[in-house]
């Protein structure tokens, strides 16, 4: 392959950029929708923008080894900033743009960032709030100047001005020397893990980590310079760094940035990516949208949809996996593709997806199969920041909803006696920044990293299967296995349920707290002429509780069929009066529930579920987006679910 021919002397991302200019100079590297039009930059143009910015940064005093925070939504200028920072020998530290001021302050302080490159006024304001406590922060560079005209510009410059200065009087020779001096073991990027427990940690990834991983996994899926991808996931997340920089630079494909956070769906449709990544929550949101629209569609359309979706469910995944399928079934699938699947995929923006991945959370089998049955090559991967994403992934044609695939190229895997998954790979992180204890407790001297997940290798397929976080898997009072996530995922497949948290460790039975999905339930309410004025009110509506109860009963039925986990059926549940939110610390920024926090915070509710109370009055503290706190009060109903009898033949045998 063309790309490999130049691989030898590439020891950094800036070197990959140089190579791409030589190989793909006139091909698009970045696109962004602005002012209603897709603006694009070729690799040559992007390299010039990056150079100007790097030269300007040097003039501002950025020096080798400095940490430079980058905060904002996905925009070409911020991706350029990452590479420009690397060119100067400094280290980019992308941070979550929706993080509250104190979270940003922690990361800026912990990383010792001297500079911050930010998207807009919102981020400037956040840093201004905490700047007093950050004496090390010398200068802020902003991209979008709207509303910033009146601000004190003594230690603040616009990105365009930095570039202009760089073009005008930058020292190109010095910059080239700094870029050429980068080695394979120099730090490429520092990423803060969201952490379901404790303070975030700065994961240090080297050029070797990023480039080796990108090379191996781009080969795994045969990514070429012709891919198109949409960059919409947080830039601070390792996945985005690998897909939008690692893979994009290795394979030389184009990264497309949406116009704004709200236009992502429309932009997705316009771009039609060939390589697409999304956490299950996004696929779930898409499916919820589809289902809601179908409810509103005409009778005929509904009939057609359900008829062909049933057909797709039967043969779609098998066709995708290249298994033998009868001619008649294939014909029907082709008609379905013309009438339903094709238009639907087009509507969703998935018409051209060649490789699609989901990860971050386990995906419900029904959800997974829905997309596969449409003919979308959706696969699962399993990874973490410390591994530069990839631990295992599913090869084409070997995709199953209950496993996460085979070890990625170059990754070694082993399972401890306690059932914990360990890995070792070229992507294994260097260290946690300024935290040798955590580094030592996570990575042993031989380079094996503990994932914290319980899992096993499926003997039939040789694929890894993850059960749950090892600290969450436990026993119930009677010794039965308790794996909350398994049940929660089943609940979350219902469009009406956004989140669920199941309790039951050490108890005699399981109970659950549930979040309704306001989009789905709100639509249902509208169609049924049910008026409501707030989330809280609709969440406690008797008819809503009735619907949720139906879902819980249905889940209990399927859980009862699993011999190992039959004890995890939900006996009682409550629908929460507020959405679980990262701002309240109940979830991570990547939307993983923090079980312990929720258990503590809603202790009164959990107690009421177990002591048999019919309802409970509660006050909950909430944090608004601007950091202010408030309280909401509510009386919540506890609902009883019907529990299916547990595998009777087994009871008889005992």
């Amino acid at each position: 392959m063309n790309a490999d021919a130049h691989a030898g002397d590439i020891t950094s991302v800036p070197k990959l950029l140089e190579r791409n200019v030589a190989l793909y100079g006139q091909r698009p590297a970045y696109r962004e929708k602005e002012f209603g039009i897709w603006q694009s930059w070729t690799w040559s143009e992007a390299a010039k923008e990056i150079e100007a910015l790097a030269l300007g940064l040097l003039l501002l005093g950025v020096a080798k080894g400095d940490r430079v925070a980058i905060i904002g939504r996905n925009r070409p200028a911020l991706y350029w900033s990452m590479v420009a920072v690397q060119r100067t020998g400094a280290i980019p530290v992308p941070l979550y743009q929706d993080a509250a001021a104190e979270e940003i302050a922690y990361a800026l302080d912990n990383s010792g960032a001297r500079f911050a490159i930010v998207g807009d006024q919102e981020q400037v304001d956040k840093i201004a709030d905490v700047r007093e406590d950050l004496p090390g922060l010398a200068h802020i560079i902003y991209h979008d100047g709207q509303g910033l005209r009146k601000y004190d510009h003594a230690a603040m410059t616009s990105l365009a001005d930095v570039q202009a200065k760089g073009r005008e009087s930058g020292d190109k020779a010095k910059l080239k020397a700094l870029t050429d001096a980068l080695t394979y073991d120099d730090t490429c990027v520092m990423l803060y893990t969201s952490g379901t427990t404790g303070r975030p940690k700065g994961v240090v990834l080297s050029n070797r980590n990023v480039i080796e991983t990108a090379k191996n996994t781009a080969g795994f899926d045969h990514l070429t310079e012709k891919e198109e991808t949409l960059a919409y996931l947080p830039m601070a997340w390792v996945g985005d760094f690998i897909f939008s920089i690692g893979h994009a630079y290795w394979a030389g494909f184009c990264v497309n940035c949406p116009e704004s956070a709200d236009t992502m769906h429309a932009d997705l449709r316009e771009i039609g990516p060939t390589y697409f990544f999304a956490p299950p929550a996004i696929f779930e949101a898409h499916l919820t949208q589809v289902m809601i629209r179908m409810e509103d569609a005409s009778r005929l359309k509904q009939k057609m949809f359900h008829y062909f979706m049933a057909q797709a469910k039967e043969v779609g995944p098998r066709i995708l996996d290249g298994e033998p399928v009868g001619l008649w079934a294939r014909l029907k699938y082709a008609v379905g593709d013309f009438l339903v699947y094709g238009p639907l995929k087009n509507r969703l923006g998935f018409s051209r997806v060649r490789v699609g991945y989901t990860a971050g959370e386990a995906i419900g089998p029904e959800l997974f199969d829905f997309y596969r049955s449409l003919g979308i090559n959706l696969k699962q991967l399993y990874g973490q920041t410390e591994a530069t994403v990839f631990i295992t992934q599913q090869p084409d044609g070997q995709v199953r909803s209950d496993t996460v695939g085979v070890p990625s190229p170059g990754v070694e895997l082993k399972i401890t006696d306690a059932g914990e998954v360990l890995y070792r790979s070229p992507g294994t992180f260097v260290e946690y920044y300024k935290n040798p204890e955590s580094t030592a407790s996570t990575k042993d001297p031989e380079g094996w990293v503990a994932t914290g997940d319980a899992g096993f290798i499926d003997p039939k397929s040789g694929h890894l299967r993850i059960i749950d976080r090892i600290k969450d898997v436990s026993k119930m009072q009677d010794g039965a296995l308790f794996a909350p996530k398994y049940v929660e995922n089943k609940l979350k497949f219902f469009p009406n349920i956004l989140e669920a948290v199941v309790f039951g460790a050490g108890k005699d039975r399981c109970c659950a707290l549930i979040n309704i999905d306001l989009t789905a339930v709100g639509n249902w309410a509208e169609r049924n002429n049910i008026a409501y004025s707030s989330y809280q009110e609709i969440s406690q509506h008797p008819k809503v509780l009735e619907i949720i109860k139906g879902h819980v009963n249905a889940v209990n039925e399927t859980v009862a069929k699993d011999e190992m986990l039959a004890g995890c059926q939900i006996h009682r549940f409550m629908v929460l009066h507020k959405e679980l939110d990262a701002d309240d610390g109940e979830m991570t920024r990547t939307r993983k529930v923090r079980r312990a926090v929720i258990g503590d915070k809603y202790d009164d509710l959990v107690t009421a579920l177990y002591d048999g109370s019919a309802s409970v009055y509660t006050e909950t503290e909430v944090t608004y987006e601007d950091g202010r706190k408030g309280k909401i009060k509510a009386t919540l109903q506890a609902c009883d679910a019907s529990v299916a009898p547990v595998a009777p033949q087994k009871v008889a045998a005992e």
Partner: protein, 272 residues
């Protein structure tokens, strides 16, 4: 009055220029009712000027005088130094005055984009025949104006609803679209009739930020009517207070806040 001599710089560093509009001894009657009684004040270039007062104080009538919709029986209106004659609404628009309305006046069936495009009407010169032929002048013109409108859309952060019919939007967004249409006209003087009415706290904060940004970014002079005192005091450079058609206060927010007559008007002291 020498307009240029007394320009000044505000605390936050903006330069407020000379007098843009001067209203002298305005009296407006509807039959026997005197809606405005002998009021004089001016609006300076680059400032945010608020007109406040209790219900029925004559604020909206005043705005209609400023916009040229009402012709006062007595008094004169000077705009950019010249006495303004009676004018038709389109002539007012051509002078560089744009406005929003208290009870939203958008084309409900049209998309957000089309609504905002109507704000560019005064910049479209191609006649009906050129428009029909389309290629050439009309097309160039449309592209130029669309580019301008897209900047406004970006500025007000409404990209996601560009193609949505206005009728389907919630109230707060409709208000923003109306502001967008007014801005699209590139006004010298922007008149806002109760821009925050009926909004929740978050929407009010957003709208305040946009008003400040418009003033800051484009240097647009803004005259607004509002009865939410808190918002007005935070936003404005100078405030005119009206009550029963009379002017009872005029000055910076601080000056107005300390004015006994203003306090009385808002607390509802009986008038003799």
């Amino acid at each position: 009055m020498n307009a240029m001599a007394d320009s000044y710089v505000t605390e936050d560093g903006r330069t407020i220029g000379g007098v843009l509009m001067d209203l002298r001894e305005i009296t407006l009657r509807f039959g026997g009712v005197e809606a405005i009684k002998n009021i004089s004040f001016d609006i300076r270039e680059g400032e945010i000027r608020a007109i406040i007062g209790p219900n029925g104080a004559g604020k909206s009538s005043m705005l209609n005088v400023i916009s040229g919709f009402y012709k006062p029986q007595e008094g004169e209106v000077y705009f950019r130094g010249a006495l303004r004659p009676a004018m038709k609404p389109y002539q007012v628009a051509r002078q560089g005055i744009a406005r929003t309305f208290q009870n939203i006046a958008l084309f409900e069936g049209m998309t957000v984009l089309d609504n905002i495009m109507t704000g560019r009407l005064n910049y479209m010169k191609a006649g009906i025949i050129k428009q029909a032929i389309w290629k050439g002048a009309a097309e160039r013109e449309e592209i130029e104006n669309r580019a301008h409108v897209e900047r406004v859309i970006d500025f007000l952060d409404i990209q996601a609803i560009r193609k949505t019919p206005v009728g389907r939007l919630p109230y707060g967004l409709k208000k923003r679209v109306e502001l967008a249409r007014a801005l699209a006209a590139d006004p010298k003087l922007l008149l806002l009739d109760e821009p925050m009415a009926g909004m929740n706290v978050e929407e009010k904060e957003d709208m305040s930020r946009f008003i400040l940004d418009v003033n800051d970014e484009f240097g647009t002079t803004i005259a607004l009517i509002e009865h939410d005192m808190g918002v007005v005091m935070d936003l404005s450079d100078r405030v005119v207070v009206m009550d029963y058609g009379r002017k009872i206060g005029d000055g910076t927010p601080d000056e107005v806040r300390g004015n006994q007559e203003v306090i009385d008007a808002y607390l509802g002291v009986a008038h003799d």
